[in-house]
Symmetry: C2
Subunit: 321 residues, 2 copies
Protein backbone atom coordinates (compact mmCIF):
# COMPACT_ATOMS: atom_id res chain seq x y z
CA UNK A 1 0.00 0.00 0.00
CA UNK A 2 1.34 3.41 -0.94
CA UNK A 3 0.14 6.27 1.24
CA UNK A 4 0.32 9.95 0.37
CA UNK A 5 -0.13 12.65 2.97
CA UNK A 6 -1.40 15.91 1.50
CA UNK A 7 -0.26 18.75 3.71
CA UNK A 8 -2.42 21.80 3.06
CA UNK A 9 -1.28 25.38 3.59
CA UNK A 10 -3.40 27.98 5.36
CA UNK A 11 -6.94 28.58 4.11
CA UNK A 12 -8.11 32.17 4.38
CA UNK A 13 -11.58 33.27 5.45
CA UNK A 14 -12.04 34.79 2.01
CA UNK A 15 -11.43 31.53 0.14
CA UNK A 16 -14.42 29.73 -1.35
CA UNK A 17 -15.08 26.03 -0.83
CA UNK A 18 -14.68 25.60 -4.56
CA UNK A 19 -11.22 27.17 -4.53
CA UNK A 20 -10.16 24.99 -1.61
CA UNK A 21 -11.41 21.83 -3.31
CA UNK A 22 -9.40 22.86 -6.36
CA UNK A 23 -6.27 22.91 -4.21
CA UNK A 24 -7.11 19.48 -2.76
CA UNK A 25 -7.77 18.13 -6.24
CA UNK A 26 -4.35 19.32 -7.33
CA UNK A 27 -2.74 17.43 -4.44
CA UNK A 28 -4.82 14.34 -5.17
CA UNK A 29 -3.69 14.43 -8.81
CA UNK A 30 -0.08 14.55 -7.69
CA UNK A 31 -0.70 11.59 -5.39
CA UNK A 32 -2.34 9.62 -8.17
CA UNK A 33 0.57 10.42 -10.48
CA UNK A 34 2.81 8.86 -7.85
CA UNK A 35 0.52 5.79 -7.76
CA UNK A 36 -0.67 6.38 -4.19
CA UNK A 37 -3.50 4.11 -2.99
CA UNK A 38 -4.70 6.43 -0.22
CA UNK A 39 -4.41 10.19 0.27
CA UNK A 40 -4.67 11.67 3.75
CA UNK A 41 -6.02 15.23 3.98
CA UNK A 42 -6.09 17.36 7.17
CA UNK A 43 -8.73 18.10 9.80
CA UNK A 44 -11.35 20.75 8.94
CA UNK A 45 -9.82 20.76 5.50
CA UNK A 46 -12.48 22.73 3.66
CA UNK A 47 -12.27 26.00 5.60
CA UNK A 48 -10.09 27.97 7.91
CA UNK A 49 -9.70 26.58 11.44
CA UNK A 50 -12.70 28.56 12.63
CA UNK A 51 -12.69 27.50 16.35
CA UNK A 52 -10.10 30.24 16.80
CA UNK A 53 -12.89 32.78 16.23
CA UNK A 54 -15.68 33.61 18.64
CA UNK A 55 -19.19 34.10 17.29
CA UNK A 56 -21.67 35.27 19.91
CA UNK A 57 -24.33 33.40 17.99
CA UNK A 58 -22.78 29.98 17.39
CA UNK A 59 -25.04 29.58 14.37
CA UNK A 60 -22.90 32.19 12.66
CA UNK A 61 -20.29 29.45 12.39
CA UNK A 62 -22.68 27.23 10.47
CA UNK A 63 -21.23 28.44 7.20
CA UNK A 64 -18.09 26.43 8.01
CA UNK A 65 -20.10 23.19 8.28
CA UNK A 66 -21.25 20.66 5.66
CA UNK A 67 -24.84 19.45 5.68
CA UNK A 68 -24.18 16.70 3.15
CA UNK A 69 -21.10 14.85 2.05
CA UNK A 70 -20.25 15.25 -0.69
CA UNK A 71 -22.09 18.50 -1.24
CA UNK A 72 -21.96 20.16 -4.61
CA UNK A 73 -18.65 21.90 -3.94
CA UNK A 74 -16.91 18.76 -2.73
CA UNK A 75 -18.38 16.32 -5.26
CA UNK A 76 -15.63 17.03 -7.81
CA UNK A 77 -13.02 15.71 -5.36
CA UNK A 78 -14.96 12.45 -4.99
CA UNK A 79 -15.29 12.18 -8.77
CA UNK A 80 -11.61 12.83 -9.34
CA UNK A 81 -10.61 10.28 -6.72
CA UNK A 82 -12.89 7.65 -8.24
CA UNK A 83 -11.58 8.48 -11.71
CA UNK A 84 -8.02 8.06 -10.57
CA UNK A 85 -8.84 5.06 -8.34
CA UNK A 86 -7.45 6.67 -5.18
CA UNK A 87 -8.97 6.31 -1.72
CA UNK A 88 -8.87 9.28 0.64
CA UNK A 89 -9.38 10.54 4.20
CA UNK A 90 -10.92 13.98 4.66
CA UNK A 91 -11.73 16.04 7.75
CA UNK A 92 -14.57 18.56 7.79
CA UNK A 93 -17.16 20.17 10.05
CA UNK A 94 -20.42 18.23 9.94
CA UNK A 95 -24.02 19.14 10.75
CA UNK A 96 -25.83 15.84 10.79
CA UNK A 97 -29.52 15.28 9.90
CA UNK A 98 -30.41 15.74 13.60
CA UNK A 99 -28.80 19.19 13.53
CA UNK A 100 -25.89 18.07 15.69
CA UNK A 101 -22.42 19.45 14.99
CA UNK A 102 -19.27 17.36 14.92
CA UNK A 103 -15.61 17.62 13.97
CA UNK A 104 -15.70 14.75 11.51
CA UNK A 105 -13.55 12.70 9.17
CA UNK A 106 -14.43 10.16 6.53
CA UNK A 107 -12.73 7.41 4.59
CA UNK A 108 -13.65 7.15 0.92
CA UNK A 109 -12.57 4.06 -0.98
CA UNK A 110 -11.15 4.02 -4.49
CA UNK A 111 -14.63 3.67 -5.98
CA UNK A 112 -15.76 6.92 -4.35
CA UNK A 113 -17.85 5.26 -1.65
CA UNK A 114 -17.78 6.56 1.93
CA UNK A 115 -16.71 3.47 3.88
CA UNK A 116 -15.97 4.99 7.27
CA UNK A 117 -16.83 7.93 9.46
CA UNK A 118 -15.34 9.28 12.68
CA UNK A 119 -16.46 12.13 14.91
CA UNK A 120 -13.76 13.66 17.09
CA UNK A 121 -13.86 12.51 20.70
CA UNK A 122 -11.01 14.43 22.37
CA UNK A 123 -12.10 18.01 21.77
CA UNK A 124 -9.42 20.36 23.09
CA UNK A 125 -9.75 23.92 24.26
CA UNK A 126 -12.72 25.54 25.93
CA UNK A 127 -16.45 26.33 25.58
CA UNK A 128 -16.40 29.81 27.11
CA UNK A 129 -15.06 32.95 25.51
CA UNK A 130 -11.58 33.88 26.71
CA UNK A 131 -10.63 37.52 27.05
CA UNK A 132 -7.35 39.11 26.08
CA UNK A 133 -6.10 36.29 23.89
CA UNK A 134 -5.03 36.62 20.26
CA UNK A 135 -7.09 33.56 19.34
CA UNK A 136 -9.72 31.32 20.91
CA UNK A 137 -9.59 27.52 20.78
CA UNK A 138 -13.31 26.97 21.17
CA UNK A 139 -13.75 23.42 19.85
CA UNK A 140 -15.77 22.57 22.94
CA UNK A 141 -18.21 25.33 21.96
CA UNK A 142 -18.76 24.49 18.31
CA UNK A 143 -18.68 20.68 18.43
CA UNK A 144 -20.25 17.90 20.42
CA UNK A 145 -18.12 14.97 21.55
CA UNK A 146 -18.18 12.33 18.83
CA UNK A 147 -20.76 9.57 19.11
CA UNK A 148 -19.34 6.92 16.79
CA UNK A 149 -16.47 5.57 18.91
CA UNK A 150 -13.11 4.70 17.40
CA UNK A 151 -13.86 2.71 14.27
CA UNK A 152 -11.70 0.60 11.99
CA UNK A 153 -12.75 0.30 8.36
CA UNK A 154 -11.86 -1.81 5.37
CA UNK A 155 -10.40 0.47 2.72
CA UNK A 156 -9.70 -1.54 -0.39
CA UNK A 157 -8.59 -4.53 1.71
CA UNK A 158 -6.58 -2.66 4.37
CA UNK A 159 -7.83 -2.11 7.93
CA UNK A 160 -7.69 1.63 8.54
CA UNK A 161 -8.46 3.46 11.79
CA UNK A 162 -9.09 7.19 12.05
CA UNK A 163 -8.74 9.97 14.54
CA UNK A 164 -8.41 13.75 14.50
CA UNK A 165 -5.78 16.19 15.76
CA UNK A 166 -5.75 16.24 19.58
CA UNK A 167 -6.82 12.56 19.64
CA UNK A 168 -3.27 11.70 18.59
CA UNK A 169 -1.92 12.69 22.00
CA UNK A 170 -4.14 10.17 23.83
CA UNK A 171 -2.79 6.61 23.93
CA UNK A 172 -6.28 5.19 24.43
CA UNK A 173 -7.08 6.12 20.83
CA UNK A 174 -4.39 4.05 19.12
CA UNK A 175 -5.05 1.22 21.56
CA UNK A 176 -8.76 1.06 20.77
CA UNK A 177 -7.95 1.05 17.05
CA UNK A 178 -5.18 -1.50 17.36
CA UNK A 179 -7.41 -3.83 19.41
CA UNK A 180 -9.69 -3.91 16.37
CA UNK A 181 -6.83 -4.96 14.12
CA UNK A 182 -6.03 -1.59 12.57
CA UNK A 183 -2.97 -1.79 10.33
CA UNK A 184 -2.88 1.92 9.48
CA UNK A 185 -4.06 4.93 11.51
CA UNK A 186 -4.72 8.15 9.60
CA UNK A 187 -5.42 11.59 10.99
CA UNK A 188 -5.54 15.25 10.15
CA UNK A 189 -4.67 18.13 12.45
CA UNK A 190 -4.63 21.89 12.89
CA UNK A 191 -2.11 22.67 15.60
CA UNK A 192 -1.78 26.36 16.34
CA UNK A 193 1.52 27.77 17.47
CA UNK A 194 -0.44 29.95 19.89
CA UNK A 195 -2.79 28.23 22.33
CA UNK A 196 -4.72 30.18 24.96
CA UNK A 197 -3.23 29.61 28.39
CA UNK A 198 0.20 28.32 29.16
CA UNK A 199 2.63 28.34 26.24
CA UNK A 200 5.07 25.59 25.40
CA UNK A 201 8.28 26.57 23.71
CA UNK A 202 7.71 26.65 19.93
CA UNK A 203 9.99 23.67 19.30
CA UNK A 204 7.98 21.66 21.82
CA UNK A 205 4.88 21.87 19.61
CA UNK A 206 6.63 19.92 16.89
CA UNK A 207 8.38 17.59 19.31
CA UNK A 208 5.26 16.47 21.19
CA UNK A 209 3.34 16.14 17.91
CA UNK A 210 5.92 13.74 16.50
CA UNK A 211 6.47 12.00 19.85
CA UNK A 212 2.75 11.18 20.03
CA UNK A 213 2.64 9.78 16.49
CA UNK A 214 5.78 7.75 17.01
CA UNK A 215 4.69 6.27 20.33
CA UNK A 216 1.25 5.47 18.93
CA UNK A 217 2.76 3.68 15.94
CA UNK A 218 5.34 1.74 17.93
CA UNK A 219 3.22 0.72 20.91
CA UNK A 220 0.43 -0.50 18.64
CA UNK A 221 2.34 -1.99 15.70
CA UNK A 222 0.57 0.28 13.22
CA UNK A 223 1.56 2.70 10.50
CA UNK A 224 0.50 6.27 11.26
CA UNK A 225 -0.04 8.93 8.60
CA UNK A 226 -0.78 12.48 9.77
CA UNK A 227 -1.67 15.49 7.61
CA UNK A 228 -1.35 19.11 8.76
CA UNK A 229 -3.26 22.15 7.73
CA UNK A 230 -0.54 24.63 8.49
CA UNK A 231 1.11 27.93 7.87
CA UNK A 232 -0.81 31.19 8.18
CA UNK A 233 -4.59 31.54 8.15
CA UNK A 234 -5.51 35.21 8.26
CA UNK A 235 -2.35 35.81 10.26
CA UNK A 236 -2.78 32.87 12.65
CA UNK A 237 0.14 30.45 12.60
CA UNK A 238 -0.09 26.63 12.64
CA UNK A 239 2.70 24.05 12.68
CA UNK A 240 3.46 21.76 9.76
CA UNK A 241 5.24 18.48 10.32
CA UNK A 242 3.01 16.09 8.36
CA UNK A 243 4.54 12.65 8.72
CA UNK A 244 4.31 8.97 8.00
CA UNK A 245 5.56 6.75 10.85
CA UNK A 246 6.40 3.04 10.71
CA UNK A 247 5.46 0.44 13.35
CA UNK A 248 9.08 0.72 14.48
CA UNK A 249 8.23 4.24 15.64
CA UNK A 250 10.53 5.73 13.03
CA UNK A 251 9.50 8.59 10.77
CA UNK A 252 9.82 7.41 7.19
CA UNK A 253 8.51 10.58 5.51
CA UNK A 254 8.06 14.11 6.76
CA UNK A 255 7.01 17.42 5.25
CA UNK A 256 9.70 20.07 5.18
CA UNK A 257 7.53 23.19 4.68
CA UNK A 258 4.50 24.90 6.18
CA UNK A 259 2.68 24.93 2.86
CA UNK A 260 1.06 22.66 0.30
CA UNK A 261 3.23 19.58 0.06
CA UNK A 262 2.81 15.89 -0.68
CA UNK A 263 4.77 13.19 1.11
CA UNK A 264 4.60 9.55 0.06
CA UNK A 265 5.67 6.24 1.57
CA UNK A 266 5.30 2.59 0.72
CA UNK A 267 3.66 1.01 3.70
CA UNK A 268 4.77 -2.57 4.31
CA UNK A 269 1.96 -4.14 6.30
CA UNK A 270 4.25 -7.08 7.05
CA UNK A 271 6.24 -4.85 9.37
CA UNK A 272 3.16 -4.40 11.56
CA UNK A 273 2.82 -8.16 11.70
CA UNK A 274 6.38 -8.63 12.97
CA UNK A 275 5.77 -6.37 15.95
CA UNK A 276 2.31 -7.65 16.75
CA UNK A 277 3.54 -11.22 16.95
CA UNK A 278 6.53 -10.42 19.17
CA UNK A 279 6.98 -7.58 21.66
CA UNK A 280 3.40 -6.36 21.12
CA UNK A 281 1.62 -9.68 20.97
CA UNK A 282 -1.35 -8.33 22.90
CA UNK A 283 -2.93 -11.73 23.54
CA UNK A 284 0.28 -13.00 25.14
CA UNK A 285 1.25 -9.95 27.16
CA UNK A 286 -1.64 -7.60 27.95
CA UNK A 287 -3.28 -7.81 31.41
CA UNK A 288 -6.60 -5.93 31.25
CA UNK A 289 -7.54 -7.10 34.75
CA UNK A 290 -5.01 -4.50 35.94
CA UNK A 291 -6.21 -1.69 33.62
CA UNK A 292 -9.61 -1.04 35.22
CA UNK A 293 -8.81 2.51 36.30
CA UNK A 294 -8.57 3.55 32.64
CA UNK A 295 -12.32 3.13 32.30
CA UNK A 296 -13.38 3.49 35.93
CA UNK A 297 -11.92 6.98 36.35
CA UNK A 298 -12.15 10.08 34.18
CA UNK A 299 -9.83 12.44 36.03
CA UNK A 300 -7.03 11.84 38.49
CA UNK A 301 -7.90 10.55 41.95
CA UNK A 302 -6.32 9.18 45.08
CA UNK A 303 -3.97 6.18 45.03
CA UNK A 304 -5.67 2.81 45.39
CA UNK A 305 -4.31 1.19 48.56
CA UNK A 306 -1.97 -1.74 47.94
CA UNK A 307 -1.60 -4.47 50.55
CA UNK A 308 1.76 -6.14 50.72
CA UNK A 309 3.78 -7.96 53.33
CA UNK A 310 5.35 -5.14 55.28
CA UNK A 311 8.30 -6.32 57.34
CA UNK A 312 7.11 -5.91 60.93
CA UNK A 313 10.24 -4.02 61.95
CA UNK A 314 12.60 -2.49 59.42
CA UNK A 315 16.31 -2.54 59.75
CA UNK A 316 16.41 1.18 60.27
CA UNK A 317 13.70 1.02 62.93
CA UNK A 318 15.64 -1.75 64.71
CA UNK A 319 18.71 0.40 64.69
CA UNK A 320 16.82 3.37 66.08
CA UNK A 321 15.26 1.27 68.85
CA UNK B 1 12.91 16.81 44.74
CA UNK B 2 16.29 15.71 43.45
CA UNK B 3 16.35 12.29 41.82
CA UNK B 4 19.44 10.22 41.14
CA UNK B 5 19.39 7.26 38.76
CA UNK B 6 22.05 4.70 39.57
CA UNK B 7 22.93 2.84 36.42
CA UNK B 8 24.61 -0.45 37.30
CA UNK B 9 27.07 -2.26 35.07
CA UNK B 10 26.87 -5.98 34.36
CA UNK B 11 26.79 -8.36 37.33
CA UNK B 12 28.58 -11.63 36.78
CA UNK B 13 27.35 -15.05 37.92
CA UNK B 14 30.43 -15.31 40.12
CA UNK B 15 29.69 -12.11 42.07
CA UNK B 16 28.35 -12.44 45.61
CA UNK B 17 25.29 -10.52 46.84
CA UNK B 18 27.56 -8.81 49.31
CA UNK B 19 29.85 -7.55 46.56
CA UNK B 20 26.90 -6.29 44.53
CA UNK B 21 25.43 -4.47 47.52
CA UNK B 22 28.83 -2.86 48.03
CA UNK B 23 28.62 -1.47 44.49
CA UNK B 24 25.10 -0.18 45.11
CA UNK B 25 26.19 1.39 48.38
CA UNK B 26 28.95 3.21 46.55
CA UNK B 27 26.42 4.64 44.10
CA UNK B 28 24.06 5.57 46.92
CA UNK B 29 26.89 7.40 48.70
CA UNK B 30 27.57 9.38 45.53
CA UNK B 31 23.88 10.24 45.26
CA UNK B 32 23.74 11.34 48.90
CA UNK B 33 26.86 13.47 48.38
CA UNK B 34 24.92 15.19 45.59
CA UNK B 35 21.98 15.70 47.97
CA UNK B 36 19.62 13.40 46.07
CA UNK B 37 16.30 12.65 47.78
CA UNK B 38 15.62 9.42 45.89
CA UNK B 39 17.93 6.92 44.18
CA UNK B 40 16.55 4.64 41.46
CA UNK B 41 18.30 1.29 41.06
CA UNK B 42 17.62 -1.21 38.21
CA UNK B 43 15.45 -4.29 37.83
CA UNK B 44 16.80 -7.55 39.30
CA UNK B 45 19.60 -5.47 40.70
CA UNK B 46 21.12 -7.98 43.06
CA UNK B 47 22.14 -10.66 40.57
CA UNK B 48 22.76 -11.27 36.91
CA UNK B 49 19.69 -11.16 34.64
CA UNK B 50 19.14 -14.89 35.15
CA UNK B 51 16.05 -15.34 32.88
CA UNK B 52 18.55 -15.58 30.04
CA UNK B 53 19.58 -18.98 31.42
CA UNK B 54 17.56 -22.17 31.28
CA UNK B 55 17.45 -24.41 34.32
CA UNK B 56 15.64 -27.68 33.74
CA UNK B 57 14.64 -27.60 37.37
CA UNK B 58 13.33 -24.06 37.89
CA UNK B 59 14.17 -24.37 41.57
CA UNK B 60 17.81 -24.16 40.54
CA UNK B 61 17.11 -20.49 39.91
CA UNK B 62 15.98 -19.98 43.50
CA UNK B 63 19.44 -18.81 44.45
CA UNK B 64 18.73 -15.60 42.51
CA UNK B 65 15.66 -14.84 44.65
CA UNK B 66 15.24 -13.07 48.00
CA UNK B 67 13.07 -14.68 50.69
CA UNK B 68 13.11 -11.60 52.88
CA UNK B 69 13.73 -7.93 52.25
CA UNK B 70 16.06 -6.75 53.47
CA UNK B 71 17.92 -10.01 54.00
CA UNK B 72 21.27 -9.99 55.77
CA UNK B 73 23.20 -9.17 52.61
CA UNK B 74 20.96 -6.25 51.63
CA UNK B 75 20.41 -4.79 55.11
CA UNK B 76 23.56 -2.64 54.89
CA UNK B 77 22.07 -0.79 51.93
CA UNK B 78 18.93 0.00 53.95
CA UNK B 79 21.06 1.15 56.85
CA UNK B 80 23.24 3.35 54.71
CA UNK B 81 20.21 4.92 53.02
CA UNK B 82 18.57 5.64 56.37
CA UNK B 83 21.84 7.04 57.70
CA UNK B 84 22.16 9.35 54.74
CA UNK B 85 18.41 10.13 54.64
CA UNK B 86 17.97 8.99 51.04
CA UNK B 87 14.94 7.12 49.73
CA UNK B 88 15.42 4.42 47.09
CA UNK B 89 13.77 2.12 44.55
CA UNK B 90 15.21 -1.36 44.14
CA UNK B 91 14.29 -4.26 41.86
CA UNK B 92 14.91 -7.86 42.88
CA UNK B 93 13.56 -11.40 42.45
CA UNK B 94 11.16 -12.24 45.27
CA UNK B 95 9.90 -15.53 46.72
CA UNK B 96 7.01 -14.53 48.92
CA UNK B 97 5.85 -16.33 52.11
CA UNK B 98 3.43 -18.40 49.98
CA UNK B 99 6.37 -19.61 47.88
CA UNK B 100 5.30 -17.59 44.85
CA UNK B 101 7.95 -16.00 42.66
CA UNK B 102 7.75 -12.46 41.32
CA UNK B 103 9.91 -9.89 39.55
CA UNK B 104 9.54 -7.23 42.23
CA UNK B 105 10.48 -3.68 43.10
CA UNK B 106 10.16 -1.73 46.32
CA UNK B 107 10.21 1.88 47.42
CA UNK B 108 12.07 2.59 50.65
CA UNK B 109 11.63 5.99 52.26
CA UNK B 110 14.40 8.07 53.79
CA UNK B 111 13.83 6.45 57.18
CA UNK B 112 14.53 2.99 55.76
CA UNK B 113 10.91 1.87 55.76
CA UNK B 114 9.49 -0.10 52.82
CA UNK B 115 6.55 2.10 51.75
CA UNK B 116 5.65 0.51 48.41
CA UNK B 117 5.87 -2.76 46.52
CA UNK B 118 5.26 -3.68 42.90
CA UNK B 119 5.30 -7.06 41.19
CA UNK B 120 5.91 -6.97 37.45
CA UNK B 121 2.79 -7.39 35.35
CA UNK B 122 4.04 -7.31 31.76
CA UNK B 123 6.41 -10.25 31.74
CA UNK B 124 8.11 -10.45 28.35
CA UNK B 125 9.62 -13.45 26.62
CA UNK B 126 8.53 -17.04 26.87
CA UNK B 127 7.92 -19.96 29.25
CA UNK B 128 9.27 -22.75 27.05
CA UNK B 129 12.90 -23.47 26.31
CA UNK B 130 14.02 -22.14 22.93
CA UNK B 131 16.59 -24.07 20.93
CA UNK B 132 19.46 -22.63 18.98
CA UNK B 133 19.47 -19.20 20.58
CA UNK B 134 22.44 -17.58 22.32
CA UNK B 135 20.21 -16.60 25.27
CA UNK B 136 16.75 -17.34 26.59
CA UNK B 137 14.34 -14.67 27.80
CA UNK B 138 12.35 -16.91 30.10
CA UNK B 139 10.67 -14.43 32.43
CA UNK B 140 7.35 -16.16 31.84
CA UNK B 141 8.94 -19.34 33.25
CA UNK B 142 10.53 -17.98 36.38
CA UNK B 143 7.95 -15.42 37.46
CA UNK B 144 4.21 -15.22 37.98
CA UNK B 145 2.30 -12.17 36.75
CA UNK B 146 2.28 -9.58 39.52
CA UNK B 147 -0.70 -9.54 41.86
CA UNK B 148 -0.45 -6.06 43.38
CA UNK B 149 -1.66 -3.90 40.48
CA UNK B 150 -0.02 -0.59 39.63
CA UNK B 151 0.37 1.23 42.91
CA UNK B 152 1.25 4.81 43.76
CA UNK B 153 3.00 5.44 47.06
CA UNK B 154 3.85 8.40 49.24
CA UNK B 155 7.62 8.69 49.42
CA UNK B 156 8.53 11.50 51.77
CA UNK B 157 5.60 13.57 50.52
CA UNK B 158 5.86 12.83 46.79
CA UNK B 159 3.49 10.49 44.95
CA UNK B 160 5.64 7.88 43.25
CA UNK B 161 4.48 5.11 40.91
CA UNK B 162 6.56 2.11 39.95
CA UNK B 163 6.94 -0.33 37.13
CA UNK B 164 9.62 -2.63 35.75
CA UNK B 165 11.40 -2.92 32.41
CA UNK B 166 8.98 -4.14 29.72
CA UNK B 167 6.10 -2.39 31.54
CA UNK B 168 7.51 0.90 30.25
CA UNK B 169 6.46 0.05 26.68
CA UNK B 170 2.77 -0.31 27.65
CA UNK B 171 0.84 2.97 27.82
CA UNK B 172 -1.72 1.44 30.18
CA UNK B 173 0.92 1.40 32.90
CA UNK B 174 1.64 5.13 33.01
CA UNK B 175 -2.08 5.84 32.64
CA UNK B 176 -3.04 3.71 35.63
CA UNK B 177 -0.34 5.42 37.69
CA UNK B 178 -1.24 8.90 36.49
CA UNK B 179 -4.93 8.34 37.25
CA UNK B 180 -3.84 7.82 40.85
CA UNK B 181 -2.06 11.14 40.90
CA UNK B 182 1.50 9.89 40.40
CA UNK B 183 3.95 12.77 40.04
CA UNK B 184 7.00 10.61 39.41
CA UNK B 185 7.26 7.15 37.81
CA UNK B 186 10.40 5.14 38.54
CA UNK B 187 11.53 1.92 36.95
CA UNK B 188 14.49 -0.35 36.44
CA UNK B 189 15.26 -2.43 33.39
CA UNK B 190 17.49 -5.09 31.87
CA UNK B 191 17.19 -4.77 28.09
CA UNK B 192 19.31 -7.26 26.21
CA UNK B 193 20.74 -6.34 22.83
CA UNK B 194 19.89 -9.87 21.72
CA UNK B 195 16.31 -11.09 22.08
CA UNK B 196 15.20 -14.53 20.89
CA UNK B 197 13.17 -14.24 17.73
CA UNK B 198 13.06 -11.30 15.38
CA UNK B 199 15.85 -8.77 15.84
CA UNK B 200 15.43 -5.02 15.71
CA UNK B 201 18.39 -3.00 14.51
CA UNK B 202 20.67 -2.27 17.48
CA UNK B 203 19.94 1.47 17.39
CA UNK B 204 16.21 0.70 17.58
CA UNK B 205 16.64 -0.83 21.03
CA UNK B 206 17.76 2.51 22.43
CA UNK B 207 15.28 4.50 20.35
CA UNK B 208 12.16 2.58 21.41
CA UNK B 209 13.34 2.53 25.03
CA UNK B 210 13.61 6.32 25.11
CA UNK B 211 10.48 6.80 22.99
CA UNK B 212 8.45 4.81 25.51
CA UNK B 213 9.77 6.79 28.48
CA UNK B 214 9.22 10.11 26.74
CA UNK B 215 5.68 9.33 25.60
CA UNK B 216 4.78 8.00 29.04
CA UNK B 217 6.07 11.15 30.71
CA UNK B 218 4.45 13.57 28.28
CA UNK B 219 1.07 11.90 27.90
CA UNK B 220 0.68 11.56 31.67
CA UNK B 221 2.30 14.77 32.95
CA UNK B 222 4.75 12.84 35.09
CA UNK B 223 8.49 12.72 35.58
CA UNK B 224 9.99 9.36 34.61
CA UNK B 225 13.29 8.05 35.96
CA UNK B 226 14.63 4.80 34.51
CA UNK B 227 17.71 2.86 35.63
CA UNK B 228 19.51 0.28 33.49
CA UNK B 229 21.51 -2.71 34.50
CA UNK B 230 23.66 -2.79 31.41
CA UNK B 231 26.88 -3.72 29.72
CA UNK B 232 28.16 -7.30 29.73
CA UNK B 233 27.04 -10.05 32.07
CA UNK B 234 29.07 -13.19 31.44
CA UNK B 235 29.33 -12.10 27.81
CA UNK B 236 25.68 -11.15 27.35
CA UNK B 237 25.18 -7.56 26.29
CA UNK B 238 22.50 -5.15 27.59
CA UNK B 239 21.80 -1.58 26.59
CA UNK B 240 22.42 1.41 28.86
CA UNK B 241 20.50 4.63 28.34
CA UNK B 242 19.36 5.35 31.89
CA UNK B 243 17.40 8.57 31.74
CA UNK B 244 15.31 11.13 33.56
CA UNK B 245 12.45 12.56 31.47
CA UNK B 246 10.38 15.66 32.20
CA UNK B 247 6.58 15.96 31.78
CA UNK B 248 7.38 17.83 28.57
CA UNK B 249 8.68 14.53 27.18
CA UNK B 250 12.19 15.87 27.06
CA UNK B 251 15.19 13.98 28.40
CA UNK B 252 16.83 16.12 31.05
CA UNK B 253 19.54 13.63 32.08
CA UNK B 254 20.93 10.57 30.38
CA UNK B 255 23.73 8.11 31.06
CA UNK B 256 26.54 8.16 28.54
CA UNK B 257 28.14 4.76 29.30
CA UNK B 258 27.20 1.10 29.67
CA UNK B 259 28.69 0.92 33.15
CA UNK B 260 28.25 2.18 36.69
CA UNK B 261 27.14 5.78 36.43
CA UNK B 262 25.02 8.22 38.39
CA UNK B 263 22.75 10.77 36.72
CA UNK B 264 20.95 13.43 38.71
CA UNK B 265 18.15 15.90 38.00
CA UNK B 266 16.14 18.39 39.99
CA UNK B 267 12.54 17.41 39.50
CA UNK B 268 10.17 20.37 39.47
CA UNK B 269 6.79 18.92 40.40
CA UNK B 270 5.18 22.19 39.32
CA UNK B 271 5.92 21.30 35.72
CA UNK B 272 3.65 18.24 36.04
CA UNK B 273 0.94 20.51 37.36
CA UNK B 274 1.12 22.82 34.32
CA UNK B 275 0.47 19.94 31.93
CA UNK B 276 -2.18 18.22 34.03
CA UNK B 277 -4.23 21.40 34.22
CA UNK B 278 -4.05 22.17 30.49
CA UNK B 279 -3.58 19.76 27.57
CA UNK B 280 -3.73 16.72 29.87
CA UNK B 281 -6.51 17.81 32.17
CA UNK B 282 -7.96 14.33 32.32
CA UNK B 283 -11.23 15.36 33.97
CA UNK B 284 -11.92 17.84 31.18
CA UNK B 285 -10.83 15.79 28.18
CA UNK B 286 -10.83 12.03 28.78
CA UNK B 287 -13.80 9.99 27.48
CA UNK B 288 -13.68 6.56 29.17
CA UNK B 289 -17.06 5.60 27.69
CA UNK B 290 -15.17 5.17 24.42
CA UNK B 291 -12.24 3.21 25.93
CA UNK B 292 -14.11 0.01 26.81
CA UNK B 293 -12.13 -2.20 24.41
CA UNK B 294 -8.99 -1.57 26.47
CA UNK B 295 -10.41 -3.69 29.26
CA UNK B 296 -12.92 -5.79 27.30
CA UNK B 297 -10.32 -7.30 24.97
CA UNK B 298 -6.95 -8.89 25.65
CA UNK B 299 -5.70 -9.50 22.12
CA UNK B 300 -6.65 -8.01 18.79
CA UNK B 301 -10.06 -8.80 17.36
CA UNK B 302 -12.42 -7.80 14.59
CA UNK B 303 -13.52 -4.20 14.07
CA UNK B 304 -16.64 -3.18 15.97
CA UNK B 305 -19.26 -2.18 13.38
CA UNK B 306 -19.97 1.56 13.22
CA UNK B 307 -23.35 2.82 12.03
CA UNK B 308 -23.32 6.14 10.27
CA UNK B 309 -25.46 7.93 7.73
CA UNK B 310 -24.27 6.46 4.47
CA UNK B 311 -25.29 8.58 1.50
CA UNK B 312 -27.78 6.38 -0.36
CA UNK B 313 -26.02 6.90 -3.68
CA UNK B 314 -22.50 8.21 -3.94
CA UNK B 315 -21.37 10.66 -6.53
CA UNK B 316 -19.17 8.08 -8.18
CA UNK B 317 -22.01 5.57 -8.26
CA UNK B 318 -24.28 8.21 -9.82
CA UNK B 319 -21.68 8.89 -12.45
CA UNK B 320 -21.25 5.19 -13.18
CA UNK B 321 -25.02 4.72 -13.50
Amino acid sequence: MRIAVAQVGGIQLSETRRAVVGRLANLLEQAADQRADLVVFPELTLTTFFPRYWYDDAAEADRFFERSMPGDDVAPLFELAADRGVAFYLGYAEIDPRGRRFNTSILVDRSGRIVGKYRKIHLPGHAERLDDVPAQHAEKRYFEVGDLGFGVFDVDGVKVGMCLCNDRRWPEVYRCLSLQGAEVVVLGYNTPVFVPGWQEEPHAKMFTHLLSLQAGAYQNSVWVAAAAKCGYEDGHHMIGGSAIVAPSGEIVAKARSEGEELIVADVDLGLSEIYRTSVFNFAAHRRPEHYRLIVDRVGRGEPVPVSFDQPPVTTAARRDA
